[in-house]
Structures are given as structure tokens and as C-alpha cells.
């Protein structure tokens, strides 16, 4: 729903929270979501968490070579996915956004197949794990070079403005990404051209081992918006409803033609940077423990419980149902089989040029010879 007067003030000193740690509604406005919607948020949070757990398990089993863990980012993921129009608006996510894509409607089988690079992988085995995307759902495929997706995201938003489609773009990235030239160039461009885009920084305080204070001398990322001529919102990224309501306002603001918005969600990465990382090398375990106390799932659970919307039985059955769906998805992804190596010659260009046809032929004959 669209409010005429904004609910939130940009550039707050403290992050915007709507739920207290104990799950009380502490917002200065009335909750206007029904029970089904609230339970839907919890369901998506849980699915995101379980997807992460499953990926890590598959990686340990040797079925996936690499994974970028997402636990601790779920409230941002789900808040964003619920604030945009599925299949209408565009997402330009980054590699730590699996939960966002799942909540946005990317099928679990596709997610699993992307991780395992089987024939069911829409990317045909060409992307690293944790680099999904979906043309059908307007989700741009994840880029490895940090922040490189931001200028294209701005350009897509400008195309929407030119064509007057009423769509918006949401692009997400980490705190480290805000140091790259592509971030500054892209966000400045969006401001200057009034692109309908929301920039979301999932600030988990680390870029691999480099902590926030080495990344920037700015007090927070949201503050950077002011120099680019747009509002910047600082949000408690462990509070899914705060993420949702702020995102919803940002998305509808930009949809109305009022220009871009920067949102900073203060999250935390519970796990290592990737399956190849040992985070104990650079951050204290007490810090990790303290942040885990602020688990976004637990906060939403407490909130629902207080309203009589969460019981252990319901939580357990939901968990089983999601896990079962993932097991089926994994089976489907694996059943598709391995990708034929010669697929690599396709899609370099829309039509295979002469020189590649020759290389493919030579490659085939070397195999048979």
C-alpha cells in the first residue's frame, strides 16, 4: 500500500527498527499486514535459512565446489523481495542474495541446479555457485567483479523511465562494494538522471577480512546518499518488517518518479565469507555470537508468537515441508544429468560464428581421434 506522506525520515542517526529484540511492534504507525502476509514473511525467512544450510551441506558432500553463506542477511532478502512486484520489477542482486531470489520466486530446482551446474541449470554450467539469475523473472545474473552490476542496473532503470513502464529496479551489494568506482559512478548517474532505482547496501561490516572502518571513514553508508542528491535510509537489517516497510516506501517513491533512493540494511554474516574462508582469522567469535543473538528469524518468531501466530508445531511442520521441497528440488536438479562439455561453445554470440564452429569441429575430432 502506498502512503502519501512518508513514514520514515532519511539520514537517521540510529537504524530504523519496527520490531524490538523481544518481538514487540514499536513502530510509530499501525501494522497493516494481515496474518497470512506476516506468516509469509516468516516462511520466506525460514526458507532462506534452510536453503543456506542445504547449500553448505551439499558443499561439504562435495556436490558444490563453493558457496557464499547467506545466514544473517535473511531479513534484508525477504524485505526486499516482498517490496517489489514479482516478475514486473527488476532485481540486480549480488552473490549473497540466494534467499532474496528464492522469495522473489526463483524455483528451488533452478537454485539447486545453478549450484550444482547440472543440465537443469539455466546458466548451463557457466556461472560459479551462488551466482544465480533468471531472465524469466527479471533477475539479472550475479556478477563476480564487485559492484560491476550497479551501472547496468541504473541503465535498466533509465530504460524503464524512457519507456514509461512503471517498473523499478532494486540493486543490492555489500559494504565493500561501496568503495568501488562503479558504485559511485552508478549512483551519481542515477541521481543525475532521476532513474527509478533503489540501491540497497547489505552492510555486514566485512568485505572478506576487511572491516568496515578500513573500508570507509563515513559513519554509515546511508549518509553517502546526501552527496548524490537522494534520501538515504539506515535500517536495522535484522528486522524483516523494518526492511520491508522502508523498502516499500523507497520502491513506491522511486516508482512515482521521485528519483533514486539508497537504503542501508545493517546485517551480519553469521558464517564465513565463503566455503573457502576461515573467518576466525579476522573477527572475534564473541562478536559473531553477539550478532547471532539478534537472529532475524528469532525476532520474527517472537513477534508472531506474541500474536498467537507461531506455535512450535507450525514451525516444525513448515520446516519439514520446506526441507522436503528442497530434497525434491535437489533430486530433480541431479536427475537432469551432467552438462555436455561442447555446450561451452554456445552463447558466446547469439549465432555461432564461423571460427567457433571450426573450433567446435576440431574439438570433436580431437575427442574422437
Amino acid at each position: 500500500m502506498i502512503k502519501d506522506s512518508p513514514r520514515f525520515e532519511p539520514f537517521s542517526q540510529k537504524p530504523i527498527s519496527l520490531l524490538s529484540e523481544s518481538g514487540e511492534w514499536i513502530a510509530p504507525f499501525d501494522l497493516d499486514l494481515d496474518e497470512a502476509a506476516l506468516k509469509g514473511f516468516y516462511r520466506d525467512l525460514l526458507a532462506a535459512r534452510l536453503l543456506d544450510e542445504r547449500f553448505i551441506k551439499l558443499q561439504r558432500m562435495g556436490k558444490i565446489s563453493f558457496v557464499a553463506p547467506t545466514a544473517g542477511h535473511e531479513a534484508a532478502h525477504v524485505g526486499i523481495a516482498h517490496a517489489v512486484k514479482r516478475g514486473h520489477d527488476w532485481l540486480f542482486p549480488y552473490y549473497r542474495d540466494a534467499g532474496m531470489l528464492l522469495a522473489f520466486g526463483v524455483p528451488a530446482t533452478e537454485m539447486m541446479a545453478q549450484m550444482m551446474a547440472t543440465k537443469a541449470d539455466s546458466h548451463k554450467g557457466r556461472q560459479m555457485p551462488s551466482h544465480p539469475g533468471s531472465q524469466a523473472l527479471n533477475v539479472f545474473t550475479v556478477a563476480s567483479p564487485i559492484a560491476s552490476h550497479i551501472p547496468p542496473a541504473v541503465g535498466t532503470a533509465i530504460s524503464m523511465k524512457i519507456r514509461n513502464t512503471g517498473q523499478v529496479v532494486v540493486t543490492s551489494f555489500g559494504d565493500g562494494a561501496t568503495s568501488e568506482g562503479d558504485f559511485h559512478a552508478g549512483i551519481n548517474f542515477a541521481g543525475a538522471q532521476g532513474a527509478p532505482i533503489v540501491f540497497v547496501c547489505e552492510n555486514n561490516r566485512y568485505a572478506i577480512s576487511v572491516d568496515y572502518h578500513k573500508q570507509t571513514a563515513a559513519e554509515n553508508i546511508a549518509a553517502k546518499a546526501s552527496a548524490y542528491g537522494m534520501p538515504g535510509y539506515l535500517v536495522d537489517g535484522m528486522d524483516v518488517l523494518a526492511c520491508y516497510y522502508v523498502m516499500q516506501e523507497a520502491v513506491e517513491r522511486t516508482r512515482k518518479g521521485l528519483g533514486p533512493v539508497l537504503v542501508e540494511t545493517q546485517v551480519y554474516r553469521f558464517g564465513p565469507h565463503s566455503s573457502a574462508d576461515d573467518d576466525s582469522r579476522y573477527r572475534p567469535t564473541e562478536e559473531v555470537k553477539a550478532w547471532k543473538q539478534r537472529d532475524p528469524l528469532m525476532r520474527m518468531q517472537r513477534f508472531l508468537e506474541k500474536r498467537g501466530l507461531w506455535t512450535k508445531a507450525w514451525g516444525d511442520s513448515l520446516r519439514n515441508e520446506i526441507n522436503e521441497a528442497f530434497s525434491v528440488a535437489i533430486k530433480e536438479a541431479e536427475a537432469a544429468g551432467a552438462i555436455p562439455a561442447e555446450w561451452m561453445f554456445e552463447d558466446v554470440f547469439k549465432d555461432m560464428p564461423r571460427h567457433l564452429k571450426q573450433q567446435l569441429e576440431r574439438w570433436r575430432s580431437e575427442l574422437s581421434g
Binding site: 554450467g125 560491476s148 572478506i208 577480512s209 576487511v210 551432467a338 552438462i339 562439455a341 555446450w343
Partner: protein, 334 residues
């Protein structure tokens, strides 16, 4: 390489690079290392592990995540009298600093009439083999070798991993060092007190009279294996390790081809417009009448590097392809 001591130590390519950095930092307090995650983390390929503890955060500097900024700042620090070693995680991300490398580092001495030279060393990983897909796995050193004004090195052996860095630091010009990502774990022995090595000569790593196999970096060991394979059939392949991609050592290449009359170039870069193409052109220019067969090339398939293991393996030069290409130029192909 000049070896002063006979004491040999077991080590790895990774440790050899680390030792080279440590040695340079001890010798010259103008030397410092900067890049992403080079501090506590020890670098994305663990090369600088332990150096922060030894030299402190002023000299082992974690930077904000901006290749353009830390490469550009490296140029500036070199102008300011320091001897920076900049680490870029991979050549693929060096593209974010391409303007600084190509438009500033490579040109500024010339454009300023010789006033401003840039004694900067930039190290980076290159190449495929770790299932990191197209945006992490390309071999773009051949591109850089196209640029006048920068020197381009590709250490393949432990001696070069250890010895090239000091020579690069002493060089008054910008030097790019490409460390193939699959070489870091390479084990071997190294003399205890190794000295700097030259950074402008190719080296014959295996002598042979039947065919010259010319390579560098990541395909070096595969090529040595191919030579061993060919030897089983009585074919004596000469293996040339280019080591320096700019300048290229014409003399060593042409001398070899004049003796063997046949050449195969093995390069993990793509074939079209590649370093292999440059070497081939030089052979044609300098030894055409000595050739008994057309020059052959073994390069990567001209596709963005795929992720899946079997696709990645199929995309880059492998042992059977190198052996087959050598047999073909020898006319012993079956």
C-alpha cells in the same frame, strides 16, 4: 640464476613469493605491500600470510575494495619515493584499474618527457583451473604484453617466483608479475640464499633437437610433461620458458627454432590476437626459411571460461593436446 649456497630448502611457489616479499621489505624500507585482504587474511592466495605480524599495518596495508584506487595510489606512492608492491586478486579484477595501468603507469614517463618514472610492481594471479568461472579465470597477461611502457613477467618456476620480485622492484619502470593460480601449491627446492634473477630473458628448461615447445606460466609444467611423454617415443622436445612476456626474448626463441626447425606455442590465453600469435609472427619473421613445418599453437577455446570442472578442463590446453600438436608438426601424428 646465481646460487651462492648449496643448501636447498623444501618450499612452495606460494612461499617463494612470500619470501621474496619479505626479503624486499627487509632490504628496503621504501617497499610496502598493499591490496585487498593482504593483512590478517594473508591475501586471497595466502601469499602474504604472516607478513602483517612481522611488518605491521603501515607496511602491509589492507585497502578499501577499489582496484582503481589502490593501483592508482601505488603509482602515486612510487612517484612519492616509495617502492610499492600492489597485489590485485586476479588479472580479471585488474581490469577495474586498467586506466591507471595503461593510461597512467605505462605512459607517464614518456609523456612527461622522461620526468616522472613509475617504479611500481603489481602482482596478480591469472589463469583457470579453480572452477571460478569467466570473471575470475581468464589469462589476460598477453593483453598487457601488448602495451609499451610496462614490463610483463610470468614466473613459472620457484626460482623465478623467488627471484623476479627483487629485480622488478629495482627496475625503474612499472612491472606486472603474473602468478598462475594453479602454481601456488607447486612444491620444490630452492637454494637458501637465492639472488635476484634477470627479468628479460627466456630460458631453455629442457634441451632437445626435434621441436621447440614455447610456453610460460600456467602451461609450463604441462609442457614439460608433454616433452617427457614425447621422449618415450624418442622425440626430443626443447622447452622454452618465456618468463618475460615484454620484452620478449627473440634471440632464445629464434636460436632454438633454427636448431629444431619446428615450433609449437602453448599459451592459456585465447588464440586470436594472443601472445602465442606474437611469438608465431616473430618466428615467421626471423626464422621462416629454417622451418620444416608450419608453426602450431595450443591455446584456450575461444569462449568465456566455463565453471563446471569438465568444461573448464576442456577449454584450456591439456597434455594430450600439446603432445598431439607436437606430433603433428613432426609429421608423426597418427
Amino acid at each position: 640464476m646465481s646460487v651462492k649456497s648449496a643448501t636447498m630448502l623444501k618450499t612452495t611457489y606460494r612461499e617463494a613469493v612470500r619470501e621474496a616479499i619479505r626479503d624486499a621489505m627487509r632490504r628496503d624500507d621504501r617497499v610496502f605491500l598493499m591490496g585487498e585482504d593482504v593483512g590478517k587474511y594473508g591475501g586471497c592466495y595466502a601469499v602474504s600470510l604472516g607478513l602483517l605480524e612481522e611488518f605491521g599495518p603501515e607496511r602491509i596495508r589492507d585497502t578499501p575494495l577499489s582496484e582503481a584506487a589502490f593501483v592508482g595510489a601505488g603509482i602515486g606512492a612510487a612517484l612519492g619515493g616509495m617502492r610499492p608492491i600492489v597485489e590485485v586478486m586476479t588479472v580479471n579484477f585488474s581490469l577495474l584499474a586498467l586506466d591507471q595501468i595503461v593510461n597512467t603507469a605505462a605512459t607517464i614517463l614518456h609523456m612527461s618527457g622522461g620526468q616522472f618514472n613509475v617504479p611500481l610492481v603489481i602482482r596478480m594471479a591469472t589463469g583457470a583451473g579453480r572452477q571460478l568461472a569467466a570473471q575470475h579465470s581468464h589469462s589476460l597477461e598477453g593483453w598487457y604484453a601488448h602495451i609499451p611502457g610496462i614490463k610483463v613477467l610470468a614466473p613459472a618456476t620457484l626460482e623465478d617466483a623467488r627471484g623476479m620480485l627483487w629485480a622488478a622492484i629495482e627496475d625503474p619502470d612499472p612491472v606486472l608479475i603474473f602468478e598462475h593460480a594453479m602454481l601456488y601449491g607447486q612444491e620444490g627446492e630452492l637454494a637458501e640464499d637465492v639472488a635476484a634473477v634477470d627479468i628479460d630473458k627466456a630460458v631453455i628448461r629442457r634441451a632437445g633437437s626435434d621441436v621447440s615447445l614455447i610456453t610460460y606460466g600456467g602451461t609450463f609444467y604441462k609442457t614439460m610433461q608433454a616433452a617427457a611423454e614425447l621422449a618415450k617415443d624418442g622425440i626430443e622436445a626443447e622447452v622454452i620458458d618465456l618468463r618475460s612476456l615484454r620484452p620478449l626474448d627473440n634471440g632464445t626463441i629464434l636460436d632454438s627454432v633454427r636448431r629444431t626447425h619446428r615450433a609449437v606455442i602453448i599459451d592459456e590465453g585465447w588464440r586470436s590476437g594472443s601472445l602465442a600469435a606474437e611469438v608465431s609472427a616473430r618466428i615467421t619473421e626471423g626464422a621462416f626459411y629454417e622451418l620444416d613445418a608450419p608453426v602450431a599453437r595450443v591455446c584456450s577455446a575461444e569462449v568465456p571460461m566455463p565453471y563446471a570442472k569438465h568444461l573448464e578442463e576442456a577449454a584450456i590446453p591439456q597434455l594430450p593436446g600439446i603432445v598431439a600438436a607436437a606430433r603433428e608438426v613432426l609429421g608423426t601424428h597418427v
